[in-house]
C-alpha cells in the first residue's frame, strides 16, 4: 500500500469511530427487545422517528457549517444520540416531543458547540432535561407494563397515540398511563408508607419496578459486552454503580423504613442506561483513569441525591450533566505520573 501520511507512524490500527458507534447500538438491541416486550412496540416508532430527524438535523447543520456530509453522517454519532434519547423517553411520547428533543440535541447541544467531539454536555441528556423541564407531564406519564394493562397496544394503536394523541377506542392516553415505579416509590414514601409495603403493589416486580428491572439487567449485560469488546472501559460504570449503591446502602441501613433498597436503585429508572451508555460517552466524560473513577462515582452519588432528596423522580440525566461540567477540572487534577516523573 502506498504511504499517505507525511510522518510516522505509517501504520494504523483497525479502530474506527463508526465501529465504536455500531458496537454501542448492537449492545442496546437486547434491552430494546425487552422494552418492546414490556411496554409494547411504540419504542420502535419513536426510535425510527428520532433517527430520521437526527440525521436530517445533522445534515442540515453540516451544510450550514460547510462541513463534509459523508464522514459525519456515517460516523454513527447522531444515530446513537437519537437511539439513547428514544430509550429514555416514555413509551407513547407524542411525536413532537421526540422531534423537539432530537433537534435540540443535535442542533443546540452538539453542533452549536462545534459538532462531534466538541460538545461539553451529553446531547441526549441535554435534550432529555430540556423536555423534562418544559413538558413535565408528558415526560413523566408512563405506560404500565403490558401485562398490567387491560388493553395491550399493537403497533397501529401505538402509531395513533403517538401521532394523534388518541387511543383507537377514543379514550384519552391518560386513562391508561401512570407513574413510574421510581415515582411511585418516592411519592408513597412521602406519604409515610413503608417501602416493603409499597413494593408489594402490582407495579413492582422481584427487586424493583416490574419490567424495569429486566430492562436494566439487559442494559447491564449489553454494557458488559461493550467492556469486553473494549468499546468502553470499566471505570465509569463500576464507579457509578458503586457510588450509587454505597450511598443507598448507608441510608438503607440507617433508615430502612423511609428508603428503598440499593438493589431497587440499581435496577430502576435510568441507572444502567446511564452507567454503561450515557456516562461513558467519551466526548463528555473524564478521560484519565483516576478521573473516570471520580466522574463515575460523582454521577452515582448525584443520581441518588436527586432521586431521594431532589424534586425529580430520576436523577441520572441531571447527575451526568452536572458531572460533565466538572470534567476539565477532574482531568486536570488526575493526570497520571509520566515515566520517570516525580512520585
Amino acid at each position: 500500500m502506498p504511504l499517505s501520511r507525511l510522518s510516522s507512524p505509517f501504520l494504523s490500527g483497525t479502530n474506527r469511530v463508526t465501529l465504536h458507534m455500531l458496537q454501542l447500538l448492537l449492545a442496546l438491541v437486547p434491552a430494546v427487545i425487552a422494552i418492546v416486550y414490556f411496554f409494547g412496540p411504540s419504542i420502535l416508532i419513536t426510535m425510527t422517528l428520532a433517527i430520521v430527524v437526527a440525521l436530517l438535523a445533522e445534515a442540515l447543520m453540516l451544510k450550514l457549517r460547510h462541513r463534509p456530509l459523508k464522514p459525519f453522517l456515517t460516523d454513527g454519532s447522531a444515530v446513537v444520540t437519537a437511539v439513547l434519547l428514544a430509550i429514555a423517553l416514555p413509551p407513547l411520547a407524542p411525536w413532537w416531543l421526540t422531534v423537539i428533543g432530537v433537534v435540540f440535541a443535535i442542533v443546540f447541544a452538539k453542533h452549536l458547540y462545534g459538532g462531534l467531539g466538541y460538545n461539553p454536555f451529553n446531547p441526549a441528556m441535554v435534550a432529555y432535561v430540556l423536555l423534562l423541564v418544559s413538558f413535565p407531564l408528558e415526560m413523566t406519564t408512563w405506560l404500565p407494563v403490558a401485562s398490567l394493562s387491560e388493553q395491550p397496544l399493537d403497533l397501529v394503536a401505538a402509531f395513533n397515540v403517538i401521532f394523534n394523541g388518541q387511543l383507537t377506542n377514543g379514550l384519552g392516553f391518560d386513562t391508561i398511563s401512570g407513574a413510574t415505579p421510581l415515582d411511585a416509590m418516592k411519592t408513597q414514601i412521602g406519604l409515610l408508607q413503608h417501602p416493603s409495603y409499597i413494593s408489594e403493589q402490582p407495579l413492582f416486580g422481584l427487586f424493583a419496578g416490574k419490567g424495569w428491572e429486566w430492562i436494566n439487567i439487559w442494559l447491564a449485560l449489553g454494557g458488559a459486552y461493550l467492556i469486553y469488546r473494549r468499546v468502553i472501559s470499566w471505570h465509569i460504570p463500576v464507579a457509578m454503580l458503586l457510588g450509587l449503591s454505597s450511598i443507598s446502602l448507608i441510608t438503607w441501613v440507617i433508615a430502612p423504613e423511609t428508603t428503598a433498597s440499593p438493589l431497587f436503585h440499581l435496577l430502576s429508572g435510568g441507572t444502567m442506561l446511564g452507567a454503561f451508555f450515557i456516562a461513558t460517552d467519551p466526548v463528555t466524560a473524564a478521560t484519565t483513569v483516576k478521573g473516570r473513577i471520580v466522574f463515575g462515582a460523582g454521577v452515582g452519588l448525584l443520581t441518588y441525591i436527586i432521586r431521594v432528596w431532589g424534586g425529580y423522580p430520576d436523577g441520572v440525566a441531571f447527575a451526568v450533566l452536572l458531572m460533565n461540567m466538572l470534567v476539565p477540572l477532574i482531568d486536570y487534577y488526575t493526570q497520571p505520573r509520566v515515566y520517570g516523573g516525580q512520585k
Binding site: 500500500m1 502506498p2 504511504l3 499517505s4 501520511r5 507525511l6 510522518s7 510516522s8 507512524p9 505509517f10 501504520l11 494504523s12 490500527g13 483497525t14 479502530n15 474506527r16 469511530v17 465501529l19 465504536h20 463534509p68 464522514p71 459525519f72 460516523d75 454519532s77 462545534g114 459538532g115 462531534l116 467531539g117 466538541y118 472501559s233 467519551p282 466526548v283 466524560a285 478521560t287 484519565t288 483513569v289 482531568d331 493526570q335 497520571p336 505520573r337 509520566v338 515515566y339 520517570g340 516523573g341 516525580q342
Partner: protein, 506 residues
C-alpha cells in the same frame, strides 16, 4: 537467574512481518561506483574533512576528524579517489542538503594498514574510548549517538548493569535479528570490551521472544565464553516499543530513568547489538565503522533481506538489487513503519543510522481526513510514557505551548502508539513534533532576545564606566593642573617675596 520482568504501561502488540526478510543470510551489497559520505551521520557536531579533492584514499582511512566533544571520525568505506567535498542531498525528513565527501571507488577495495589486538586489556579504558571514537562508532540502533561518550560514566557515576539491546521491536526490521543469528561471537567481543571500559560485570542481553533463532545463537555463543559469566540473556515478551531504551530499562530492571535524565543516573548503560559488534571489530581487528547491515523489505520488495552495505552507497542501487517495484518518486520509509521517516529521492546515500529501507506496508494509515477527537482515551491507554495525548493534541492544535509543557510534551518518545490506536485517525505524533519544534524555536528566539538584551545592557554599562573613567581622568588632570598651578603660584609668590626681601635688603 530469572528475575521477574518489569512492565511499562500501554504499548502495542503489532504484526511483526519479520519473516519477510529473514529467509536468506546476510548478503553483501555490490560495490558502488561512487559513494557519498555526509560529514554528519551522528548526533552532535559534523566531522571536519582531512582530505582534499583529488586525494587517493584506502579502505578504512580516516577522511574526516571529530570536531568538538560530541563527534566522531569518518572513514573511506573502500579505496578510491576523493572527487568532491560539497553540499549534497542527505537522508533527512526535511530533504535538506549538507556537506558530503564524494568518493569514486577504484574497485580494488584495498585496506589501509590496521592492527589486530588480541588482548585489549593492555589498553586503558581511556584508550579504548579513544579508539572507538576514532573508529567512528555511533549507536547503530537508529539514534546515532557517539558510543564512546556512553562508555564514559565519569567519576560521579557507578555502572551497575550494562544492557545490550537486541529487542528490535519495530515491525519489518530484522538487521539486529540477523546479526545476532550470524555474528553472535562478534557481538560478545564487543560486550567484553564494553564491560572492561565501563568496569562492570553485570550484563543483560535483552531479546524479544519473536526471535528464537537469534536467542539460541546468542545462548550458544555465550555458553562457550567463560569470561562472561555474569552476562545473561533475558527473553522478553514481544511488545512495541520495548526496544526503546527507557522502556527496555523498565522491563529489564523495573526501574525508571528520571524524566529529562539519562540511564547512567540510575547506573545503567544501554547499547545496541549492532554497536557491540562494531566495537568488537574496531578494537580486536582495528576495523573502523565503514558499513552496516541494512534491512530492505516491504510489500513491494521481491527479494527482501539483509545486506551488509558500505556507507555512501546510493539507496537506489540497494533497491534495484532487491528487485523492488516502486513508481519513480514514490515515497518509501527509512527506518521502521512506526518511527521512521519517509523519503522520495532514492539517490540518497546509506548512512550509519540507516537500519531499514521499507517499501510498501500492510495496514497503512488511510488517506481519509481525520475525524475530530472524541476523547475516547485509547491513546492514553496505549502511551508507554503515561502521557495524555488527547490533551496534548488540543494544546498543540491551539499552539498553547505553555500547556503542552505542563502536560509533559517533552517526555513523548514519538513511538506512534497513540496515532496507531486513534479511532479518528488523527496523526497525533505529527502534532507533537510540530509543538516540540515550535517550543524549541520559541526558546531559541527568547534566548537570542535575551542575549541581545544582555549585550545591550553590557554595552550601556561599559559606556557608563568609560564615561566615568574619562570624567575621573579629567578630574585628576584638572586636579593635577590645579596643583601645579598652585605650586607655581606659590613659587611665584615665594620668588616675589624673595625678590622683595632682596629689594628690602638692598
Amino acid at each position: 537467574m530469572s528475575t521477574p520482568l518489569g512492565k511499562f504501561p500501554g504499548g502495542l502488540v503489532l504484526d511483526g512481518q519479520k519473516k519477510r526478510s529473514t529467509h536468506d543470510a546476510i548478503r553483501k551489497t555490490p560495490l558502488s561506483k561512487k559513494l557519498i559520505l555526509p560529514l554528519q551521520q551522528h548526533i552532535g557536531e559534523a566531522s571536519t574533512p582531512i582530505v582534499a579533492v583529488g586525494d587517493n584514499v584506502l579502505k578504512g582511512q580516516s577522511i574526516a576528524k571529530a570536531e568538538g566533544h560530541v563527534s566522531v571520525y569518518l572513514h573511506a568505506p573502500t579505496s578510491g579517489t576523493i572527487t568532491a567535498i560539497d553540499e549534497q542531498p542527505i537522508p533527512h525528513p526535511s530533504g535538506l542538503s549538507a556537506l558530503c565527501i564524494s568518493l569514486e571507488t577504484d574497485g580494488e577495495d584495498r585496506w589501509i594498514e590496521h592492527e589486530e589486538i588480541a588482548d585489549f586489556t593492555r589498553l586503558s579504558e581511556h584508550d579504548i574510548r579513544q579508539k572507538i571514537r576514532e573508529a567512528g562508532i555511533v549507536g547503530l540502533g537508529g539514534a546515532g549517538f557517539p558510543s564512546f561518550i556512553k562508555l564514559n560514566p565519569g567519576v560521579h557515576h557507578h555502572v551497575e548493569t550494562l544492557i545490550i539491546n537486541g529487542v528490535e521491536c519495530e515491525p519489518y526490521i530484522t538487521c539486529d535479528d540477523m546479526i545476532m543469528r550470524e555474528r553472535a561471537e562478534g557481538i560478545l567481543d564487543g560486550v567484553e570490551i564494553m564491560q572492561y571500559a565501563l568496569r562492570v560485570n553485570n550484563c543483560v542481553i535483552a531479546i524479544e521472544d519473536n526471535k528464537p533463532e537469534a536467542i539460541s545463537a546468542m545462548e550458544l555463543a555465550l555458553g562457550r565464553r567463560h569470561s562472561l559469566k555474569d552476562t545473561r540473556i533475558v527473553v522478553i515478551p514481544t511488545r512495541y516499543p520495548t526496544g526503546s531504551e527507557k522502556q527496555l530499562i523498565q522491563v529489564v530492571t523495573g526501574k525508571q530513568v528520571p524524566s529529562h535524565g539519562l540511564p547512567i543516573d540510575i547506573g545503567i548503560v544501554c547499547h545496541n547489538v549492532g554497536t557491540s559488534y562494531a566495537i568488537g571489530r574496531a578494537i580486536k581487528h582495528g576495523e573502523p565503522l565503514i558499513s552496516r547491515i541494512v534491512t530492505v523489505t516491504g510489500t513491494d520488495v521481491k527479494h527482501a533481506g539483509n545486506f551488509e552495505t558500505l556507507f555512501g552507497t546510493p539507496m537506489h542501487e540497494l533497491l534495484s538489487f532487491c528487485d523492488t517495484h516502486r513508481e519513480p518518486n514514490e515515497p518509501f520509509i527509512l527506518g521502521g513503519p512506526m518511527m521512521g521517516y519517509n523519503l522520495s529521492g532514492d539517490h540518497l546515500p546509506i548512512t550509519k543510522t540507516a537500519n531499514c529501507i521499507l517499501v510498501g506496508v500492510d495496514n497503512a494509515a488511510p488517506k481519509t481526513e481525520p475525524l475530530p477527537c472524541i476523547r475516547c482515551g485509547e491513546c492514553a491507554t496505549a502511551c508507554p510514557v503515561s502521557l495524555l495525548p488527547q490533551q496534548l493534541y488540543w494544546f498543540s492544535r491551539s499552539k498553547d505551548l505553555e500547556k503542552t509543557r505542563e502536560y509533559n510534551l517533552f517526555d513523548c518518545i514519538e513511538c506512534g502508539c497513540c496515532s496507531y490506536v486513534c479511532p479518528s485517525k488523527i496523526p497525533l505524533v505529527h502534532y507533537f513534533r510540530f509543538a516540540k519544534t515550535e517550543t524549541m524555536n520559541h526558546e531559541l528566539e527568547t534566548q537570542k532576545a535575551d542575549n541581545a538584551r544582555i549585550r545591550h545592557e553590557n554595552r550601556l554599562e561599559r559606556q557608563e564606566a568609560e564615561k566615568k573613567e574619562k570624567e575621573e581622568r579629567q578630574r585628576q588632570r584638572k586636579l593635577a593642573l590645579a596643583a601645579t598651578k598652585a605650586a607655581k603660584q606659590k613659587e611665584d609668590a615665594k620668588k616675589a617675596a624673595e625678590s622683595s626681601t632682596d629689594n628690602q635688603e638692598n
